[in-house]
């Protein structure tokens, strides 16, 4: 030890220590880092990006530009994130069929795997919200009543009390949320598609989003039971008035015609 300590002021000592430290960290990294897995993942990811890029070139590039930089026909996709792609393509809105006030929902022609590849490619262009995992939009741990309150505060002014949809200016509209999957609702809140404002986690926390989705499932889901009978579209007084006039007064007039037609016969004396 004396020899070592005697040479500690040697000009090369610092270099030797540096080399030792590097070797040490390198060795530790080699031991602990999941080297194989990381490598495989990287290749899969880059494969997905490659495949996504091909799909993008066929289905999207004509409007959004060859590199997602956007053109006069479509916005830039840099930084919109995988969640936006999953929503737009997953609900069939993209690729758009025709220009108009608003891009309409239609039958989705991509498989989920293809959507994921597209999403991977778009995500590689710039950081953005990723596709939510299932536990984020599952009903467990959600407060339905709180979700209702949040829905009425943030969503109802366009989507109606229970998400039946509503009109916006110049032919645009807030679509009905009936039959929209929880994942897509989550992504819509996160990314704000088309005319919808986005509600990032700083505005509506993950828990808030979960509550809203649970509320929608409760009042506008597949298993929602309407305690009052037929909901008449859930549109409120317009459809109620129409129903009251046609079926209410209509059947009463029919009854009146029937009663009036059956008169007592005067006795001939």
């Amino acid at each position: 030890m004396k020899k070592l300590s005697a040479r500690r002021r040697h000009p090369l000592a610092a270099i030797v220590v540096l080399l030792l430290a590097l070797a040490c960290t390198g060795g530790l990294y080699a031991v602990f880092a999941p080297a194989d897995k990381a490598q495989a993942d990287e290749t899969a990811q880059s494969l997905a990006i490659d495949e996504g890029k091909k799909l993008y070139a066929v289905g999207c590039a004509s409007c959004h530009g060859t590199g997602g930089e956007g053109t006069t026909d479509g916005p830039s996709l840099v930084g919109v994130g995988a969640a936006a792609v999953d929503f737009q393509v997953g609900t069939g809105r993209m690729p758009a069929q025709q220009p108009g006030a608003q891009v309409q929902k239609k039958k989705n022609i991509y498989s989920q795997a293809e959507i994921d590849q597209l999403a991977a490619y778009i995500a590689s262009l710039g950081a953005g919200p990723s596709i939510p995992t299932e536990e984020k939009y599952r009903d467990e741990g959600a407060d339905i009543a709180k979700g209702g309150d949040l829905f009425r505060t943030n969503c109802a002014q366009c989507h109606n009390f229970t998400g039946k949809g509503g009109a916006l200016t110049h032919g645009k509209f807030a679509p009905s949320l009936e039959g929209v999957s929880a994942k897509h609702i989550y992504e819509a809140m996160q990314t704000g598609p088309q005319n919808m404002p986005s509600f990032p986690d700083t505005t509506l926390t993950e828990q808030n989003k979960k509550d809203i989705i649970a509320y929608l499932n409760a009042v506008n889901g597949d298993e929602t039971v309407d305690p009052g009978g037929l909901s008449l579209g859930g549109l409120g007084p317009v459809s109620e008035g129409l129903f009251g006039w046609i079926f209410g007064l209509g059947s009463l007039i029919a009854v009146a015609v029937w009663v009036a037609a059956r008169t007592a016969k005067a006795k001939k004396s």
């Binding site: 009390f161 007084p237 317009v238 109620e240 209410g248 009463l252 007039i253 009146a256 009663v259 007592a264």
Partner: protein, 545 residues
């Protein structure tokens, strides 16, 4: 005498119980003379005469179900936390009014059904009154002596609108709260007094803590009380005037042809009440109305799209939605024309139909009593005016639901609103012209039928090869019915000189009246009905038809 009678009665044993009860009551209420005068009262048979009954019965149903609802409703705006059966609202803060309405819907036995019967009956009551009013209008049943009763009916319709409004505002849900806010905005738009009325009505700033309790007494006491009085008055006048009837053989201005009140109409009306109740209850059992649980409690900072009032307030909503948002600022005051103009039109529009009978009687100068109804075609100008009014009403209803029309017909809401704006002015004019044309066409057809008979559809070939259609002559009854109406002559301005030979200046009102009268009864506005001579000449056998 009386001793003698009573002994003979006793000898035959006691009188039947019914007779004794009736005797007892007669001695105290005088029901014999009342019943004698009214039991044989005759009512004519026509389905459209039962529209008023639909209104009367739905009004009764509303009162009956309303009483049940008052047993459980708490008209209070105290804030409470919900812990009832409806899960999606658990733990939410809400007013006691809203909570008690939820409890009626979910935790009171039969509560939801009764609530829905109450609300559906209200919707049908107002619709029934609208149609009943139109029946009276288009058949001219409002003419002397029934003008006052027309006004009673009109007041019932308007009061019904406001009773409905105060009623659906009571649950303090997000939809009705938006409606109350809308109304408060309309009140505020009134220059000078608007702010004072609003502060008085709401007991301070909106929404305050008072309006549910105040609306409650207006809804269950004040307005229905007045309405009940008007209904009674309306019915007494129907009895007093006797019912009108359509023209027909044996029916004159001095008689009523039909069935007696007792037993025929008592049975029919009683049965019809249960039919009305049954239909409304069935609808209430099938379809949901005003599902306040999915609407949520009212909070002034929340609002939903598709927020409309019930249909009878829809045209007011339409007026406001269609009106451009103009306003004038001067000396630090704002005149909100965007709301105030619709409010004024709302009043004028309703009053226009209410005063129509008086305008018509002024134009015609007809002060006689009328108990025979007009067929709408025989009063083309009146019919056209009525259709124009209904057209404007319907266009405003579309305006009130412009967002629903936009989403459900895939239209732009702006396009719908512009359509409403233009057609509010153009639509009634077009409707007026077309209706008048149709009426005249129908009058011509009636004339044709009288003179040439009914087209039988049988084609006959004559020996010399000509084809003719065989016309069947009408029966005497049909001929009478088609020609029973009388036709007015347009009023003249009067002689140009007075009795002293001095030139007389016609007053502008006289000129206006003559002009209106011409538009009512001039050559352009009615087809002269066939005269006896015309009929004889054509049917005497010279030539064929």
């Amino acid at each position: 005498m009386s001793t003698h009678e009573s002994t003979t009665a006793r000898s035959r044993g006691k009188a039947p119980a019914g007779e004794r009860v009736a005797d007892w009551a007669d001695g105290r209420l005088g029901i014999y003379s009342l019943a004698k005068a009214n039991m044989r009262k005759i009512f004519p048979d026509h389905w459209s005469f039962m529209l008023g009954e639909v209104c009367l019965y739905s009004f009764l149903i509303i009162i009956l179900t309303g009483v049940y609802l008052t047993l459980f409703f708490h008209p209070s705006m105290n804030e409470v936390e919900y812990h009832g059966s409806y899960v999606p609202l658990q733990g939410q803060l809400m007013s006691e009014a809203y909570k008690s309405t939820l409890d009626i819907s979910f935790d009171v036995r039969g509560g939801l059904l009764i609530r829905q019967i109450h609300h559906w009956a209200a919707i049908i009551f107002l619709a029934g009154m609208f149609v009943h009013m139109m029946r009276v209008f288009f058949t001219g049943a409002f003419r002397k002596p029934r003008e006052i009763n027309w006004l009673f009916g009109f007041l019932l319709f308007v009061l019904g609108m406001f009773t409905g409004f105060t009623g659906y505002s009571l649950p303090d849900d997000l939809l009705s709260g938006t409606g109350v806010r809308f109304t408060q905005g309309a009140i505020l738009s009134v220059p000078i007094v608007g702010t004072y009325i609003s502060m008085f009505l709401f007991g301070g700033e909106f929404p305050g803590h008072d309006f549910v309790a105040r609306f409650y007494s207006i809804h269950i006491l004040l307005l229905p009380g007045i309405m009940l009085g008007l209904v009674v008055g309306h019915l007494i006048l129907v009895f007093y005037h006797k019912h009108t009837q359509f023209a027909g053989p044996g029916k004159t201005n001095k008689n009523v042809v039909g069935m007696p009140l007792l037993p025929v109409y008592m049975a029919k009306a009683g049965g019809f009440f249960f039919l009305v109740f049954g239909v409304i209850a069935a609808i209430a059992g099938i379809a949901s109305v005003n599902p306040i649980w999915s609407i949520g409690p009212y909070r002034p900072d929340q609002v939903s799209t598709g927020a409309q009032p019930d249909w009878y307030m829809g045209f007011a909503e339409g007026l406001v939605r269609a009106m451009p948002g103009w306003e004038i600022n001067f000396w630090g005051h704002t005149l909100v024309l965007g709301v105030f103009v619709p409010l004024v039109i709302f009043g004028i529009f309703l009053v226009a139909i209410a005063v129509y009978p008086f305008i018509e009687s002024w134009v015609t100068g007809d002060k006689r009593e009328h108990h025979i109804l007009d067929r709408p075609r025989n009063a083309p100008t009146r019919t056209a005016f009525g259709v124009a009014w209904v057209t404007a009403y319907m266009i405003m209803l579309i305006g009130g639901g412009n967002d629903i029309f936009a989403t459900h017909f895939h239209l732009s809401i702006n396009a719908v609103t512009w359509f409403v704006r233009v057609s509010f002015f153009v639509g009634p004019v077009i409707a007026f012209v077309i209706t008048k044309r149709i009426c005249l066409g129908l009058q011509r057809r009636d004339k044709d039928k009288v003179l040439h008979g009914r087209e039988s559809g049988i084609i006959k070939r004559l020996p010399h090869g000509e084809f003719i259609e065989v016309h069947e002559p009408l029966s005497q009854e049909q001929l009478y019915t088609l020609t029973a109406h009388e036709q007015y002559k347009p009023a003249e301005i009067g002689p140009a000189v007075d009795e002293n030979g001095v030139e007389r200046k016609a007053k502008s009102t006289e000129k206006l009246r003559a002009k209106l009268s011409k538009s009512y009864y001039g050559e352009e506005s009615q087809i002269p009905k066939p005269t006896v001579e015309e009929y004889r000449e054509i049917t005497s056998g010279h030539g064929h038809h």
